[in-house]
């Protein structure tokens, strides 16, 4: 029987069940129990967000004052009363030259967010104009067998988000392609397991920075003849190698711990080994494999920043590093914006994986 898709089912499926409760609130279709759930699932998180912003605001203010007091005090001891007064007036006026450099307040971060978006719109418009301008020329160049002229301007913040996502997905795909098949082989064969065990134990805890250096050493030599920029290759390989361990271990465990009943079925039906792996072993270990993949994706997103920063590969990591080096008056606020964007995207990626997992795997509690 085909079941109709309702908002409630869809939101529950993707793990955002409270959205349907909000809808119920507006349609008046709500009773006391639901209201309690609503309170717990929406009002409480909202209140805690407000509390967080409040604490942040006060903390930032306290730090700002401490920094300002220190500056005035310093001017007083170094240059005397007049300089201290001038400094106080300067700070009060909010001038850039004497602004205390500390944790930005929520409103500053919000302003930076808006300015980054504005910046993105300007760059996007610039890019579109460039494309229009060079369209005819490019056509001619392609006809003549020459390379197209591409936009080489500064990437906007949004461009950098997409670059980072691209790196993460390339790395994730690499991890998937290495870890899942390897995990299956290791799980199936005790010999391979003892062959690879030391390898996994040693390389699992290696830090992202070291992975980057390792990959850099190898890729640099391999691509020595190429003029292409290898930073993307290096960073996505590092991300993949760094994050694949959870999937490897989980896959091996899932494959080696298939329910004995299913193995007996496979034996009684006399399934061939190919059939046995694809019809019995893999479906049964899917929940564990997905748990591993979920961890892998979140680790990939987490180490990405460090690796982009080292590899000088464009993306959010590089953005953070450049803003830190830049030291402009809104740099700190921009770093915080990047932090939130990274966090929110990480959360969305996790939801995405959960949705795919719910979709492809059976419920383990209902097995047999």
């Amino acid at each position: 029987m085909k079941q109709s898709l309702t908002l409630g089912k869809v939101t529950k499926f993707i793990g955002l069940g409270f959205l349907s409760t909000i809808k119920d609130l507006f349609t008046g279709n709500i009773d006391k129990e639901d209201f309690k759930t609503l309170l717990r699932k929406t009002i409480v998180p909202l209140a805690s967000i407000l509390l967080f912003i409040g604490l942040w605001h006060m903390g930032a203010k306290a730090l700002y004052n401490k920094e300002a007091d220190f500056k005035i005090e310093k001017a007083l001891t170094d240059q005397g009363q007049a300089a201290a007064d001038a400094m106080e007036a300067c700070i009060a006026s909010g001038d850039v030259s004497c602004k205390p450099n500390t944790l930005p307040s929520p409103s500053q971060v919000w302003d930076s967010y808006k300015s980054l978006l504005r910046d993105h719109n300007i760059i996007a418009a610039d890019k579109a104009a460039f494309k229009e301008k060079t369209a005819a020329l490019n056509e001619k160049r392609v006809a003549d067998g020459l390379d197209e002229i591409t936009y080489t301007g500064r990437p906007s913040f949004v461009d950098q988000i997409f670059r980072s996502l691209k790196t993460v997905f390339a790395g994730f795909l690499l991890a998937l392609l290495i870890a899942v098949p390897l995990g299956i082989f290791i799980g199936l064969s005790p010999t391979l397991k003892s062959a690879f065990n030391w390898f996994i134990q040693i390389f699992k805890p290696v830090s992202p920075v070291v992975w980057y250096l390792l990959v850099f050493m190898i890729v640099k030599t391999l691509l020595i003849d190429s003029n292409e920029d290898s930073s993307f290759t290096i960073s996505f390989i590092s991300v993949g190698l760094c994050s694949m361990w959870a999937t490897l271990v989980n896959t091996a465990m899932g494959v080696s711990s298939v329910d004995k009943d299913y193995i007996n079925v496979a034996k009684v039906l006399k399934l061939g080994s190919f059939q046995k792996i694809f019809k019995v072993v893999l479906p049964s270990s899917l929940p564990l494999i997905f748990t591993g993949l979920k961890i892998t994706l979140s680790v990939a997103w987490m180490v990405l920043i460090a690796i982009e920063l080292l590899a000088q590969s464009p993306g959010l990591g590089l953005f953070v590093w450049e803003e830190f080096q830049n030291g402009a008056n809104d740099s700190n606020a921009k770093i915080i914006v990047a932090m939130f964007v990274i966090g929110i995207i990480g959360f969305l990626l996790d939801r995405l994986m959960l949705t795919i997992q719910n979709w492809v795997s059976f419920d383990k509690t209902d097995a047999i």
């Binding site: 079925v265 034996k267 009684v268 019809k279 019995v280 049964s284 059976f362 209902d366």
Partner: protein, 286 residues
């Protein structure tokens, strides 16, 4: 020569000091077309016995002969219905049966295979549920799928390991009739392992009690001389039924008692006296 023969089977698990003998000196022979039930307490080694016959495990000593040939590994000639259904939860009813049929008849075309699947699913009256997954089915329906899966492979012998153990009495009765029906129609050899004496008497030609393990061994057999088809309600008034039932229960109760009295043995406590902590610590401190 019997159809299935078990000669002096011993099965032990573990080695050395931890070695535990589960089955000892099992002798059994089943003729073609016969319906034999083995009745025993839970934990008496019934599943071990079944797995020996279907080839999932090998005996430590002795031999299992199927049609005169020693059993090595599983075979499509011996269909198994497991105690806990063992359906693959990620496949639908139809797919579960199809997987078995495809393995049993690799040469048949997809269409022929699907016809066989449809036939057997129909036989256990699950056609409306053919596209459902096991978790959407009740326990009785799941067991019927398991029955269909085992029978669709057209085995020469059906081995049933407490197939109805987890079902309620009504569903149980219905399924018993269904299994008997299929057995009668296709005249296959059947071996039923159960813990329910009534079920054994209702279904089988012969009942053999399994004395509880460790060292489980088969008891004397009881022939059931009641004409088929048997009627469950009439059975209760059948003198023959009552006599056989009482005899088997008496036998099982007796070995139950025996087992109890065996296990009461005197435990000699070691001669211990408490340690003198005060003096021990005194010396240490000093």
């Amino acid at each position: 020569m019997a159809y299935l023969e078990l000669n002096n089977i011993y099965k032990t698990y573990g080695q050395g000091d931890t070695e535990a003998e589960v089955l000892s000196n099992i002798n059994l022979s089943i003729e073609e077309g016969e319906f034999v039930a083995i009745v025993g307490f839970t934990g008496s080694g019934k599943t071990t016995l079944v797995n020996l016959i279907n080839g999932l495990i090998e005996p430590t000593k002795g031999e299992v002969l199927f049609k005169g040939e020693p059993v090595s590994g599983t075979s499509h000639e011996r269909g198994v219905i497991f105690q806990n259904y063992s359906l693959l939860p990620w496949l639908t009813v139809g797919q579960n049966v199809y997987m078995a049929v495809k393995e049993a008849f690799p040469k048949k075309s997809k269409k022929e295979l699907q016809e066989i699947v449809a036939d057997y699913v129909e036989m256990v009256s699950l056609t409306p549920a053919i596209n459902k997954r096991p978790k959407e089915l009740s326990g009785g329906m799941r067991q019927r799928v398991a029955v269909a899966r085992a029978l669709a492979m057209k085995p020469e012998m059906i081995i049933m390991d407490e197939p109805l153990g987890a079902l309620d009495a009504l569903t149980r009765g219905n399924l018993q009739d269904e299994i008997l029906n299929i057995w009668g129609k296709e005249k296959r050899t059947a071996l039923l392992i159960t813990n329910d004496v009534d079920e054994g008497i209702y279904m089988a030609d012969r009942i053999i009690p399994l004395r509880p393990g460790p060292n489980a061994t088969l008891g004397p057999e009881f022939k059931i001389d009641i004409e088929r088809p048997r009627d469950k309600t009439e059975l209760n008034d059948n003198a023959n039924f009552k006599k056989t039932r009482n005899a088997i229960i008496e036998y099982l109760m007796d070995i139950g008692e025996e087992r109890k009295s065996d296990s009461i043995e005197e435990i000699i406590l070691p001669d211990l006296s408490p340690k003198d902590f005060v003096n021990q610590f005194k010396y240490k401190i000093l």
